[in-house]
């Protein structure tokens, strides 16, 4: 029943999305308002239909409908309720449906909110968003159907999966299906997996809205700042979710993958990082277009690039192009996804070229000064694009070209990224510090120098303090220098403005700060985000350059020493968890200066032969004492323990929290809705007929 319900609503959603595209295109070509209303209605109904489909699958997971092949493949009789829920995105077919459902949610919201405000853009917005939604529903219907069921041929005994019952086949015995069900991938049985994928997916799909508005602006030739104002919050929300997804992904890797780190420059991690880089460039760059009417082509390139990278990341993860702990198995959706990505990117690029040739993308102002804020923003954008290109090259370009041209498989690993990315990150942090101090239009070197003087002096003091207390590594000092500078500039800008208000208006400091944040949440929210990125940067530098590690075999009562920490192995505990995994738990005591500071229980979880090493962690703001159990010998009761000291690693998570707060502040801006955009003259319908305002 659930399979039939899910499949039928999925088919209806496909029909509705196709109708929406067709009607929107026809409405755009004929300026027919009735068709536009039909397009809107078809687009809006897609979300409830996909909701029915998604919840049907969820209900099947919860109620153990093992005849459904997807439920059978991602759950078993021992799966706890929580992981039955996360199993919705635990494999290809379910996660694809979930991805599409989230995208339809964004489209639903964007259409309803902007319908009355941007009538000229609406045909394009509906056409581009729904074409994307239709494509992904099509993948679910034809290639990765989560509602396929197992069928038994009573004559031959063969079992096959199909969405509709094949001739002559019957339902297999439920008990046998239940007993043979596969269960969820052990790597996904972690609390972080409840949040990480949905956040990442929301970040990915959210960028469809600014992309569609940009394309709609080009299609309608309405290339004013309307599309940018309409998508400001959508872009920030998508960027926030993508940031959250990346940070939570790092935390999940740190806790579950058992290698002492949070970022391995894995191609799939990189694939998710690429749209974040271009998206970050975009949310900075649009400010220049809003305020100065500049960078029109550049902003279109950035948002199209961001969405193109979203599609590429989805293709790379789901097609089997690259293998990693994240990627789903090689599947049939690779070629259609590649073609869709290429088509979207190609058409978008062509549109930009055409509109540029028509002279519709001319900037309102020229660059007037090399040190102006807009110039520095452009330079920072160039750094983001450069990072995108070199990471794309390392993750996909070099391995694919090597294999295609020489037949040699190569791995582009951490060494590559350690060579090419640090100079760019240093430049990024430096410009992040300098650009906010510069003014729009004209800034002199002297003025910029005066503005940066105080933050630079405080940075110099901080570096001197670090050097005196033992941080003498030049790379670390350079890294810390630019990172602290960016953070101090953010704080200085708030302080300076509050001081000026205090003196001019007689306000107290808290009132002045509050007034600043309430007057321009975007600007000061942005400074909070910069502060968060600074804290993350300090955490990354500390944990990367000063990580210490050692691996030793210990018998009961023996210890190992690393820096000023001593790790004593006290014994082993063997246990079976509720979900039947066998746990081998080492009891260890951590001592510092002879004083016990923590008791940790690193363990190996065995899921029917698939083992995972779960770290024991003692976390402080100073560092993490991170212990992995690598091996246990029953005969001698000896264990092999791997001890890591990860300095400042927790700043990464705290910085992430600050970044979230800042982004929420920045996106919670006062209403900036422009005057209602006049609709085009209508040929064959009364203006406004059926239009919601």
């Amino acid at each position: 029943m659930l399979a039939e319900l899910g499949l039928s609503s999925l088919l209806l959603a496909l029909a509705a999305s196709v109708i929406a595209v067709g009607a929107a295109v026809y409405a755009a070509r004929t300026d027919n308002q009735r068709w536009l209303v039909s397009a809107r209605n078809a687009a809006v109904i897609t979300f409830p239909l996909l909701t029915v489909s998604t919840f049907a699958l969820l209900a099947a997971l919860m109620t153990e409908q093992y005849q459904m092949a997807y439920v059978w493949s991602v759950t078993d009789l021992d799966t706890p309720t929580l992981y039955r829920f996360t199993a919705l995105w635990g494999s290809q077919a379910g996660s694809l449906l979930f991805w599409t459902w989230l995208m339809s949610l964004f489209v639903f919201g964007a259409i309803l909110i902007n319908w009355g405000r941007y009538p000229r853009l609406m045909p394009g917005v509906i056409a581009y968003t729904m074409a994307t939604v239709a494509f992904f529903i099509g993948l679910s219907v034809f290639l990765e159907n989560p509602f396929e069921r197992w069928w038994l041929d009573p004559i031959t005994g063969a079992i096959t999966a199909a969405a509709l019952v094949p001739a002559g086949m019957v339902v297999p015995p439920p008990q046998i299906l239940a007993e043979q069900s596969q269960g969820l991938n052990p790597l996904l049985r972690h609390f972080g997996m409840i949040i990480h994928p949905p956040m990442l997916y929301l970040g990915f799909v959210g960028f469809v809205i600014p992309f569609a508005f940009a394309m709609a602006a080009m299609t309608s030739r309405d290339l004013s700042t309307g599309w940018i104002i309409a998508t400001r919050r959508w872009s920030l929300v998508a960027w926030l979710f993508l940031s959250l997804g990346l940070i939570l992904g790092g935390r999940w890797a740190y806790d579950v993958l058992g290698w002492g780190g949070y970022w391995g420059w894995d191609p799939v991690e990189n694939a998710a990082f690429l749209p974040w880089l271009l998206g970050t460039a975009f949310i900075h760059s649009v400010m220049i277009q809003e305020k100065r009417g500049m960078l029109k082509v550049w902003n279109l390139v950035l948002i199209i690039g961001t969405f193109s990278m979203v599609l590429f990341a989805t293709f790379a993860t789901r097609s089997g192009l690259i293998e990693s702990v994240h990627s789903f198995a090689r599947s049939e959706i690779g070629l259609p996804m590649f073609l869709f990505w290429a088509a979207i990117t190609g058409v978008s690029a062509y549109m930009i070229l055409v509109r540029r040739r028509e002279g519709l993308l001319k900037d309102d102002h020229p660059f007037t000064n090399i040190l102006s804020r807009e110039t520095l923003f452009v330079l920072n954008n160039v750094v983001f694009v450069a990072l995108t290109l070199v990471i794309f090259w390392g993750s996909f370009g070099a391995p694919i070209i090597s294999e295609m041209t020489t037949g040699t498989e190569v791995t582009i690993g951490v060494e590559y990224y350690n060579i090419v990315t640090p100079p760019l990150f240093i430049l990024m942090y430096f410009l992040m510090g300098v650009a906010p101090l510069s003014a729009y239009g004209v800034t002199s070197l002297r003025r910029l120098g005066l503005n940066i003087l105080y933050p630079a002096v405080i940075t110099a003091f901080t570096l001197a303090l670090l050097a005196v207390t033992g941080t003498t590594d030049p790379a670390a000092l350079v890294g810390y220098g630019v990172t602290f500078l960016a953070g101090y500039v953010a704080l200085w800008e708030v302080w300076r403005a509050a001081q000026a208000r205090q003196r001019s208006k007689g306000e107290s400091l808290p009132v002045a700060v509050l007034a600043l944040f309430s007057r321009n949440r975007r600007r000061y929210g942005g400074y909070v985000v910069h502060l968060g990125v600074t804290v993350i940067g300090i955490g990354v530098i500390g944990s990367t350059l000063f990580q210490a590690q050692t691996e030793r075999q210990l018998r009961v009562g023996e210890s190992l020493v690393l820096q000023d920490y001593t790790l004593r192995y006290d014994g082993i505990t063997l246990a079976t968890a509720e979900d039947n995994r066998e746990m081998t738990i080492a009891d260890v005591t951590v001592l510092r200066g002879g004083q016990e500071i923590a008791r940790l229980r690193p363990r190996i979880d065995d899921f029917n032969g698939m083992a995972m090493s779960i770290a024991g962690q003692h976390s402080t703001i100073e560092n993490d004492v991170y212990v992995l159990l690598n091996d246990f010998r029953e005969d001698t009761q000896a264990v092999r323990l791997w001890l890591y000291i990860n300095p400042l690693v927790n700043l990464i998570w705290w910085g992430g929290l600050i970044l979230i707060v800042g982004t929420l502040l920045g996106s919670w801006t006062a209403d900036t809705t422009p005057q209602r955009q006049p609709a085009k003259p209508v040929k064959s319908a009364r203006v406004g007929e059926g239009v919601a305002s």
Partner: protein, 158 residues
């Protein structure tokens, strides 16, 4: 008779001095192996560093590394040996000169292209403007007023 052998014995003892100065062979530790393995990659799990991988083949490879280090091989010769046997896939940046250049020169070209592009965008659309040096330290009352006025304007613009 014995006296005649004393110089010879002394000479032998003297010759043995350097040998006595040498340390006994240091046992190879897990950390020694991990240092080499951290620069290599699992042959089965794409993009997983060898030191962090515990598949049977990786355990075997780490044992091989330990054996080679114990036999006196250096880190570089161990890695070169693995590359010769299993190809460039086992290291983070290819050792083959052509592939190494492909991996490392292209990013430099990309970076240069980005830099040229950035300069081009700014200079192509540049119009010289008169720069007014009006800022004085923020403690000055006039500067405060001027700064605040600019800030207010900025904020009004959103």
């Amino acid at each position: 008779m014995l006296r005649r052998f004393i110089p010879l014995l002394l000479a032998l003892l003297f010759a043995a001095l350097p040998a006595a100065a040498q340390d006994a062979p240091r046992p190879i530790t897990y950390d020694d192996v991990n240092e080499v393995a951290a620069r290599m990659y699992c042959p089965e799990c794409e993009n997983v560093p060898l030191d962090k991988c515990f598949t049977p083949v990786c355990i075997q490879w780490k044992q091989d590394i330990a054996d080679q280090l114990a036999a006196g091989a250096t880190e570089e010769t161990v890695i070169a040996g693995f590359v010769a046997r299993f190809g460039d896939q086992v290291v983070g940046v290819p050792q083959d000169p052509l592939l190494r250049n492909l991996a490392l020169v292209v990013p430099v070209v990309l970076l240069l292209a980005c830099a040229v592009f950035g300069v081009y965008v700014v200079y192509q659309k540049r119009r010289p403007a008169v720069v007014a040096d009006i800022d004085i330290p923020v403690t000055d009352e006039r500067a405060d007023r001027r700064y605040l006025a600019r800030l207010e304007k900025d904020m009004d613009e959103g």
